[in-house]
């Protein structure tokens, strides 16, 4: 094993980066599957190597700083969350490996990823589109249409996780994620032809279940981080429920796949589908090990809150006041994701938590919206919920 140089970095910085990298890896791995692109899969693999280094660094530092038993107990929590982020990265690397090896993945997986709530799209910029030669921070894609740029392909090189200063050139291809209507708007802006895609009629069970599993696993991870940020057992218990639901879906998927295998000619494709499902299950398990920290510890280490406060993807709680424009409107009407770049993970109403609320849910005075999105998006939602827009 090569000697890993330890830069002067703190546990907080390392934890923030691990979360950022693992979030990005999930998206990139799905994108690699969706576009069957081995270059993207290579990038995922590079990130996985980076993740191993981060994990090694965080372990070393933690071993140095622990000074007493009480501190040590809190710090094991940090290591557990870091390991969970690493487990996510391993799972995504497994998905990417399938693509790297050129494994044939059943087309139903592509369909399933397409009907998932969060869309990933490959947009080719055409000459003279309004997006060209602008910096990402000027485009404000996240806060106007809810779309985040994951990667840019420029000629033969890839820019992974572009910064705010990165400029978009014509003839670039950008990989983005966001809400469906946001992506549609982006395609128009880019001058790219609208994606036309008709789902295959076969195996609807598998398609729907896999899509649901993908959404549920992402949601579980986001909510698990939320439970740490707010030190909330209730949220952690919600995640537990989601994991139970996930297990059921997983069971259903395996059965459906086995049944389909009797008639299907593409058995290898189905096998690879199950490989993908297994990786998604690992992601969901990682969420479980994150909430384990919240459920076990009486007091969380203050580094958690600081690390999460600096991550790329932010979470926040927005209390809805009576003057807010939100009151009495449904989530569908508000469409916060596309308008502000933050979506509602949960609504806290009185003592109840509504996780993954349906779009027809109406916001009431006194609700607490737990939102997830870009820093700016979360700020905007908080302001609007407070009634000061």
């Amino acid at each position: 094993m090569k000697e890993i140089e330890s830069e002067p970095r703190s546990v907080r910085e390392l934890l923030t980066e691990m979360k950022n990298v693992s979030d990005l890896m999930i998206d990139l791995a799905y994108a690699a599957v969706l576009f069957n692109n081995s270059e993207l899969a290579d990038r995922v693999h590079e990130l996985e190597t980076k993740m191993d280094e981060l994990m090694y660094n965080i372990r070393t530092i933690v071993a140095v700083v622990t000074r007493n038993v009480r501190e040590a107990k809190k710090i094991t929590g940090i290591l557990q969350v870091a390991s969970a982020a690493e487990a996510i990265s391993n799972a995504t690397d497994d998905i990417a490996d399938l693509i790297r090896e050129g494994a044939k993945i059943h087309p139903i997986v592509h369909d399933a990823f397409r009907i998932a709530n969060e869309k990933i799209a490959w947009v080719n910029l055409s000459e003279g589109s309004t997006l060209c030669s602008k910096k990402l921070c000027d485009l404000k894609l996240a806060s106007t249409i809810g779309v985040t740029v994951l990667a840019i392909k420029r000629a033969e090189t890839w820019i992974i996780s572009p910064t705010r200063e990165t400029e978009v050139c014509s003839s670039d291809a950008i990989i983005v994620k966001g809400p469906p209507d946001g992506i549609t708007i982006l395609c128009e802006m880019a001058g790219a032809p609208k994606e036309t895609w008709v789902p295959e009629r076969e195996l609807p069970d598998i398609r729907v279940t896999l899509a649901e599993m993908r959404d549920l696993s992402s949601l579980a991870v986001d909510m698990a981080y939320c439970s740490i940020l707010f030190e909330s057992r209730e949220i952690a218990e919600e995640v537990e429920d989601m994991n139970k639901k996930f297990k059921k879906l997983n069971h259903k998927l395996w059965l459906a796949t086995l049944k389909a295998a009797r008639r299907e000619r593409d058995v290898v494709g189905l096998y690879n589908l199950l490989q993908v499902a297994k990786s998604i299950e690992q992601i969901s398990d990682a969420a479980n090990s994150i909430i384990d920290v919240v459920l076990r510890e009486l007091e969380l280490h203050p580094v958690f809150a600081q690390a999460l406060a600096e991550a790329d993807e932010q979470m926040g709680r927005a209390d809805v006041s009576e003057h807010s424009e939100f009151v009495g409107k449904s989530l569908k009407e508000l469409n916060l994701w596309t308008r502000m770049g933050a979506y509602v993970l949960m609504i806290r109403r009185g003592k109840r938590y509504l996780s993954n609320p349906p779009r027809r849910t109406k916001v009431q005075t006194g609700d607490s919206l737990i939102v997830h999105g870009t820093r700016r998006g979360v700020e905007m939602v908080k302001k609007a919920a407070g009634g000061s827009v």
Binding site: S10, V11, R12, I61, R67, P302, V303, Q306
Partner: protein
């Protein structure tokens, strides 16, 4: 008689602050910049401890001086000299420890290994000097 006392106590204070800052820097609760709540709290704590400990020791100095038969006025002067020297030393302890901790962390060295030996040597010298300054100029011993 007072120099080893002042040295010992001063170094201990420096070591405690150094060790705490080292952990905090590694964890990231303190950033190597001169601001932040955790840093302020640590500085407050060290200053308070130093005030407390130096006052306590000066009382003991006073009592021992009395027992030795120095006379009340002389004993009080010794105690005063000790407490003033301690107060003069405290900012030196705090500033030197923080600077050393930040510098070593930025250079990629482990503050635990660097700060404590250097800070103790600095404080040893500073303690002797501050006691001398106080003894000569203010109390006129």
């Amino acid at each position: 008689m007072m120099i080893p006392l002042l040295n010992g106590t001063g170094c201990n204070l420096g070591c405690i602050l150094g060790a705490r800052l080292g952990s905090a820097l590694h964890l990231g609760t303190v950033e190597p910049r001169l601001k932040g709540r955790v840093l302020r709290k640590n500085v407050h704590a060290s200053v308070l401890t130093s005030v407390g400990i130096f006052s306590f020791i000066s009382v003991i100095v006073f009592m021992i001086a009395c027992i030795w038969g120095m006379g009340f006025a002389m004993a009080a002067k010794h105690a005063l000299a000790f407490i003033l020297a301690g107060m003069l030393l405290t900012p030196v302890i705090v500033v030197s420890t923080i600077m050393l901790a930040f510098l070593s962390f930025k250079k990629g060295l482990d503050p635990d290994n660097v700060v404590i030996p250097i800070t103790t040597s600095i404080i040893d010298v500073a303690a002797a000097i501050s006691l001398l300054i106080i003894a000569i100029s203010i109390v006129g011993l």
